[in-house]
C-alpha cells in the first residue's frame, strides 16, 4: 500500500527526516516566511542532529545543502536566495510571490522581490502573471512607485497576522488542494495521512484547514478500513470532534 510504513522503525538515521522537517516548520512559523536560509536553519538544529548530519562550524552552506537535501522530502527544496542558499517550501514561484504579498501587502515590487529567494527571471514572470490574472493589483504611491496588494485586501492595509485559529486563507486552501492532487496523482480517494505528510503543517493547522474545507463541502471525508494501516498512519489521519476516524478524502466537484 502506498506510503505504508512499519510501526516502530524510528531509530538512528531514520529519525532525521521527521526531526529536520519539524525544525524547518518551527523556523518558518517563527519567521512567518516560506523559506529559511541554510545558516538560519543550521543555527536552529540541535547539536546531536547537526552531528548526525556531519555539519560542523566550518561547513560551507553548499555542503550543508548537499547533506540535508536527501532528507527534505517532497515538502521542501533548496533554492538560491539573495545572499545564501535557502530551504524553501516546494510551491510554485507564483505561489511564493502571492503568499509573501498577502503577508506584507503594500510593498513595492522591488521590496517584495528582496524578501523572496527568487531570481529576477523567476520573480518578474510570476508577479506579472498574478497581476494579469487579477490575483494581485498595484496602486501607485507618491513617488509613482507600484505597491503590490492581493485582491480582497484594501491597499495599504496592515500586514495580517497569521493566526492558527483564524479562518482558512486562500493560499492555505490552494496549498491543500495542490497537495491533494500531487499526492493523489490522479486518484480521487486520497489518504489523509499522505497529504498531512506532504504538507508538513503543524497538526492543529492541518486539522483546522481540513475541518473548514469539510464544512464548506469542498472535501468529503471517508471512513474506510484502518485495519491494514500502521499506528502512525492512523494517527496522521483525521479524527473529528465526535471521535470519528477518517482515513481518506475526495475533493468535491459540486
Amino acid at each position: 500500500m502506498a506510503g505504508q510504513k512499519k510501526a516502530g522503525d524510528h531509530s538512528g538515521t531514520q529519525d532525521i527526516p521527521a526531526k529536520l522537517r519539524e525544525r524547518i516548520e518551527r523556523g518558518l512559523e517563527r519567521t512567518e516566511r516560506d523559506y529559511l536560509t541554510v545558516p538560519q536553519l543550521v543555527r536552529s538544529l540541535p547539536k546531536r542532529l547537526r552531528n548526525t548530519l556531519g555539519i560542523e562550524g566550518e561547513t560551507k552552506p553548499g555542503s550543508i545543502a548537499e547533506r540535508i537535501g536527501p532528507y527534505l522530502g517532497v515538502g521542501f527544496r533548496i533554492r538560491k536566495g539573495q545572499r545564501s542558499l535557502c530551504v524553501c517550501r516546494t510551491i510554485s514561484e507564483e505561489e511564493l510571490v502571492f503568499r509573501e504579498a498577502a503577508r506584507r501587502p503594500g510593498l513595492t515590487s522591488k521590496q517584495l522581490k528582496a524578501k523572496l529567494p527568487l531570481k529576477e527571471s523567476e520573480f518578474l514572470p510570476a508577479l506579472n502573471s498574478l497581476l494579469q490574472r487579477g490575483d494581485l493589483f498595484c496602486t501607485l504611491n507618491r513617488e509613482h512607485r507600484p505597491l503590490v496588494t492581493p485582491v480582497g485586501q484594501p491597499a495599504g492595509a496592515p500586514v495580517r497576522e497569521e493566526e492558527d485559529q483564524g479562518p482558512m486563507t486562500r493560499e492555505e486552501r490552494n496549498a491543500f488542494h495542490k497537495a491533494y492532487e500531487t499526492v493523489g496523482s490522479g486518484r480521487r480517494f486520497v489518504r489523509i495521512h499522505l497529504i498531512r505528510e506532504h504538507l508538513q503543517w503543524p497538526r492543529e493547522r492541518f486539522d483546522r484547514i481540513l475541518a473548514e474545507l469539510r464544512r464548506n463541502f469542498e472535501v468529503q471525508l471517508h471512513g474506510g478500513d484502518p485495519s491494514s494501516m500502521t499506528e502512525t498512519e492512523i494517527r496522521d489521519s483525521y479524527k473529528d470532534e465526535q471521535g470519528r476516524l477518517y482515513i481518506a478524502l475526495t475533493w468535491s466537484e459540486r
Binding site: 464544512r215 471517508h222 471512513g223
Partner: protein
C-alpha cells in the same frame, strides 16, 4: 398525533437503531430521493439506454466507502425495475471464490438471480426466468403456431399477450406440443444457440423437468439420467475448460434472448473487499469484460470502496475493462444538511405512520442542522440521530451489545435467511471451503490447533483437495486432506473419493474428511454402484464422510456470507463516541473462536481433532471429561445425526462411537449400545457376525416429517 403520543411511539420502536441497509433485495428503509441522486439517475439512464439499444457496450462503477449507501442504492435500483420504469431484471453477485470457475460462477449466480421471485412479497411468485420463457412462448412460438389454428386460439393468444405469465397455466400436454416448435424457433432465430440450451429452456416450462433444467442452465454437470430426461448432452466428460466455455455460451445465449425481448439485465457485483488474491481480482475483471463485450442487454456495475478500487483493483485489471468501468463512474456523496434532515424526517414519518411530516419533533431542527453541517455519510446521519434521540428519551447512551452478541445475532439471522431460501444458496464448494477455512483458521484454540496442525490450501494445485491439514505433533508425517464435493455426476464423485482412498493408502497415518452438501444427491445402491463401493472402500480405509444436512450446510454458508458482510464493514455497533462503528475483522475472528460452540460447523472441528489425535480412536482429555456429562438423550440425538448421513441410515456401533463426542471407545461402546437399545422407536440394532450394526428407523424419520 400529539407530542406525548409521538414520544410513546419512539420509545416503543426507535427508527434509528439500524444503520445498515442489509439485504439488497428489500428496500428496508424509506428512500430519500435526493441522497445519491446523481448515481441513481446515471445508472437508470444507462439501463434505459440498454433497453433501447441492447447492443450498447457499457458498464458502471460506483465508489463509496463504508456507510455511503451502496447497498441502499442497489435496493433502490431493484425497486425501479420492479416498478417497470423501465422494466429490467436484476442479478446481485457476491464475491467469487474460485477463479478456476469464473464463468461457471457467473452463470450460476445469474441464473439463481433470474429464478428469484420478481417481487419480494410474493413467495413463489413469477421469476425473471418465467418472464423470459413466457415471452419466448407468447411473443414468438405461439404467435407462429396459431396462424394455422382457429379464432379461439387467436383469442387465447390475445389474452396471453396481455399477461404472458399465464402461459404456464396452459395444460402440460399443450406445452409439450409446443416444445419441438419452440426449440426449432430458437435454433432458427439464434443460429449459434446450442440445441441443448433450447431444449433446457423448454424443459423449464414443464414442472416435472424444471429443476433439472435450471440446474443445466446454471452450468451444473447433471447425472446421466437427468441429462437424458432433458435430452441434453451429458457434461460428465467435459474438461474444466470446456465447462467454462459452455458457461460463456449459455450466458451469451441468455443475452441474445434478453435483447430480443427488450429485458435489460442489471448485474451488480458487490462486497468486492472480499477478493483477496490477484487471481480473484483478475477473474472479476474477466467477468465484467465478457459481459460488456459478449453478452447483449446486460449492464454490469461494480460497487466498490474508493480506496480499494484505486489502490488495489484498478491496477490489476485489463485497461480495457478499467476504461469501460470508469467511463460511467459515480462517487457516492455525503449528505448535505438538507438531505440529512430529510433522511431523519422520513424515518420519523414512517415510525409515526403519517403521510406528511412537517416538523422534526422531538428533534430540534437547528441543532440537528448544526450537527449535519459537516457533511456526514447516510450511516453517520442515522447514527447521530439515534444518539440524539436516546438522549431526548433519556435512554442509556447505547445498548451494551458486545461485538460477539451482535455477530451471533447476525449469524442466526443469516442462517435463517439461507434456510428460508435454499434455492438462492445452492451447493457451493467455494463458500463451503471459505467457511471451513475461516472456522479452522480461527476457531481452534492454541492447544487444539497444535493437535490439528496447520490448515492450508494445497501447495500444489489439486482438483479434488480443498484444504490440507499438515503435520500434527502427535502424528508426525501424517497429512490430512479435506475434500469438499458438490458434484452431481457419479464419475466426478467417485473420482473425489478415489483421491481420498489413494491418500489413505499412501500412509496409514494419513486421514481424509470427505464433505458433501447433502442436497447434492448420493443415491443408494443399486444406483451409483461403483461410487457406493468407492465410498465403502473409503470408509474401510479410515476415511470419514460428512454429509451436511440442509440445516448444517446453512450454517456453513451463513458463516461465509457473514465474513463478506464483516469485510464490507456492514455489521455495525453503536459507539458512544462517533454514534456507530463497524465490527472489525479481529472481533469476527474472536466470534468464530468463541461464538460458534454449539453450531453445526463444530462437527468438522470435532472430527478433525479426533483424526489428528489418533485416527478417531482417541479423544482429547477435555472432551473425555465433557463426555461424562452428555446424557443418554443427547447421545441418541447425536447418533441419529450421524446415521442420517449414512447410506441406508446404517453404520457399525463402533463407527458411531468413534464419531460421537465423549468417550465411547472401548467399554464405552457397550454404554452406547445400551443407550441405543433404550430407544427402540428410533434405532434398530442388527447383530452381524463381527460387529453390532445400528440402523436409524425410516418410520421415525417419517414421523419427524423428513422425506426418506
Amino acid at each position: 398525533m400529539d407530542r406525548e403520543e409521538k414520544l410513546r411511539v419512539l420509545r416503543r420502536k426507535n427508527p434509528f437503531v439500524s444503520v445498515s441497509a442489509g439485504d439488497p433485495w428489500e428496500l428496508a428503509y424509506p428512500d430519500v430521493e435526493e441522497v445519491n441522486l446523481e448515481p441513481f439517475e446515471g445508472l437508470s439512464a444507462l439501463i434505459r439506454e440498454i433497453a433501447d439499444n441492447p447492443g450498447t457496450n457499457c458498464a458502471g462503477l460506483v465508489l463509496g466507502e463504508v456507510g455511503s449507501g451502496k447497498t441502499h442504492l442497489i435496493s433502490r435500483l431493484l425497486e425501479l425495475g420492479r416498478r417497470g420504469d423501465p422494466p429490467f431484471v436484476f442479478a446481485y453477485v457476491q464475491p467469487l471464490e474460485d477463479p478456476e470457475q469464473t464463468f461457471r460462477y457467473l452463470l450460476r449466480e445469474t441464473v439463481i438471480n433470474l429464478c428469484r421471485p420478481l417481487h419480494q412479497d410474493q413467495k413463489g411468485g413469477s421469476s425473471a426466468l418465467d418472464l423470459l420463457v413466457s415471452r419466448i412462448l407468447v411473443g414468438d412460438v405461439l404467435n407462429e403456431s396459431v396462424r394455422a389454428e382457429g379464432e379461439r386460439a387467436r383469442k387465447t393468444l390475445q389474452c396471453l399477450r396481455r399477461d404472458p405469465l399465464r402461459v404456464f397455466s396452459m395444460g402440460r400436454e399443450r406445452l409439450s406440443r409446443l416444445q419441438r416448435r419452440g426449440v426449432a424457433f430458437l435454433r432458427r432465430s439464434f443460429g449459434d444457440m446450442s440445441g441443448d440450451m433450447a431444449r433446457a429452456l423448454f424443459a423449464y416450462v414443464d414442472p416435472e423437468t424444471r429443476a433439472d433444467a435450471v440446474n443445466w442452465l446454471k452450468g451444473a454437470v447433471l447425472d446421466d439420467e437427468d441429462a437424458e430426461r432433458l435430452r441434453v448432452q451429458s457434461r460428465s466428460e467435459y474438461s474444466g475448460a470446456a465447462l467454462e466455455q459452455e458457461a460463456r455460451d449459455v450466458l451469451a445465449g441468455l443475452g441474445r434472448l434478453l435483447a430480443r425481448y427488450r429485458i435489460p439485465l442489471l448485474t451488480c457485483f458487490d462486497r468486492l473487499e472480499n477478493l483477496e488474491t490477484p487471481e480473484q481480482i483478475r477473474a472479476q475483471g474477466k467477468m465484467v469484460e465478457f459481459l460488456v463485450d459478449s453478452v447483449r442487454s446486460v449492464l454490469p456495475v461494480i460497487f466498490a470502496r474508493g480506496l480499494q478500487w484505486e489502490e488495489t483493483m484498478r491496477d490489476q485489471l485489463n485497461q480495457h475493462v478499467v476504461s469501460r468501468l470508469e467511463a460511467n463512474q459515480f462517487v457516492l456523496a455525503n449528505c448535505t444538511p438538507e438531505q440529512a434532515l430529510a433522511l431523519v424526517c422520513e424515518r420519523l414519518r414512517i415510525a409515526f405512520g403519517m403521510k406528511v411530516l412537517d416538523h422534526l419533533y422531538p428533534f430540534d431542527e437547528d441543532e440537528l442542522r448544526e450537527v449535519f453541517s459537516v457533511g456526514l455519510s447516510p450511516r453517520e446521519v442515522i447514527a447521530q440521530a439515534n444518539r440524539k434521540l436516546r438522549s431526548i428519551l433519556r435512554e442509556e447512551p447505547a445498548q451494551a451489545e458486545s461485538a460477539e452478541d451482535r455477530l451471533r445475532r447476525e449469524f442466526k439471522s443469516q442462517v435463517q435467511a439461507v434456510r428460508g431460501d435454499p434455492d438462492s444458496h445452492p451447493p457451493d464448494r467455494g463458500r463451503l471451503r471459505r467457511a471451513l477455512e475461516l472456522y479452522l483458521g480461527n476457531g481452534l484454540e492454541d492447544g487444539k490447533a497444535a493437535r490439528a496442525g496447520s490448515v492450508a490450501r494445497p501447495a500444489k494445485k489439486d482438483k479434488y483437495v480443498d484444504l490440507e491439514v499438515l503435520r500434527s505433533q502427535e502424528r508426525k508425517g501424517a497429512k490430512g486432506l479435506m475434500i469438499i464435493d458438490t458434484e452431481l455426476h457419479h464419475a466426478s464423485v467417485r473420482a473425489a473419493l478415489k483421491r481420498g482412498v489413494q491418500h489413505l493408502e499412501k500412509n496409514p497415518k494419513n486421514f481424509v474428511l470427505y464433505i458433501r452438501d447433502s442436497r447434492c444427491a448420493f443415491p443408494e445402491p443399486p444406483k451409483w454402484k461403483a461410487t457406493n463401493e468407492m465410498l465403502e472402500t473409503f470408509r474401510a480405509k479410515g476415511g470419514i464422510a460428512l454429509f451436511l444436512d440442509p440445516e448444517q450446510a446453512a450454517e456453513w454458508y451463513a458463516l461465509a456470507l457473514l465474513a463478506y458482510a464483516v469485510r464490507e464493514g456492514d455489521i455495525s455497533l453503536p459507539d458512544s463516541g462517533s454514534g456507530s462503528r463497524s465490527v472489525s475483522w479481529s472481533e469476527f475472528k474472536d466470534f468464530i473462536n468463541s461464538g460458534l460452540r454449539d453450531d453445526g460447523i463444530e462437527r468438522v472441528a470435532e472430527q478433525l481433532r479426533k483424526l489428528a489425535h489418533g485416527g478417531g480412536r482417541e479423544i482429547p482429555q477435555a472432551h473425555r471429561e465433557q463426555g461424562g456429562d452428555i446424557d443418554a438423550e443427547q447421545t441418541a440425538d447425536a447418533a441419529a445425526r450421524i446415521l442420517r448421513d449414512r447410506p441406508m441410515y446404517m453404520a457399525s456401533v463402533s463407527e458411531v462411537a468413534a464419531e460421537l463426542p465423549g468417550d465411547f471407545s472401548g467399554r464405552g461402546q457397550e454404554r452406547l449400545l445400551r443407550i441405543l437399545k433404550g430407544d427402540p422407536d428410533r434405532f434398530e440394532i442388527v447383530q452381524a457376525r463381527d460387529a453390532s450394526l445400528v440402523k436409524l428407523k425410516r418410520e421415525w424419520l417419517h414421523e419427524q416429517g423428513e422425506r426418506v
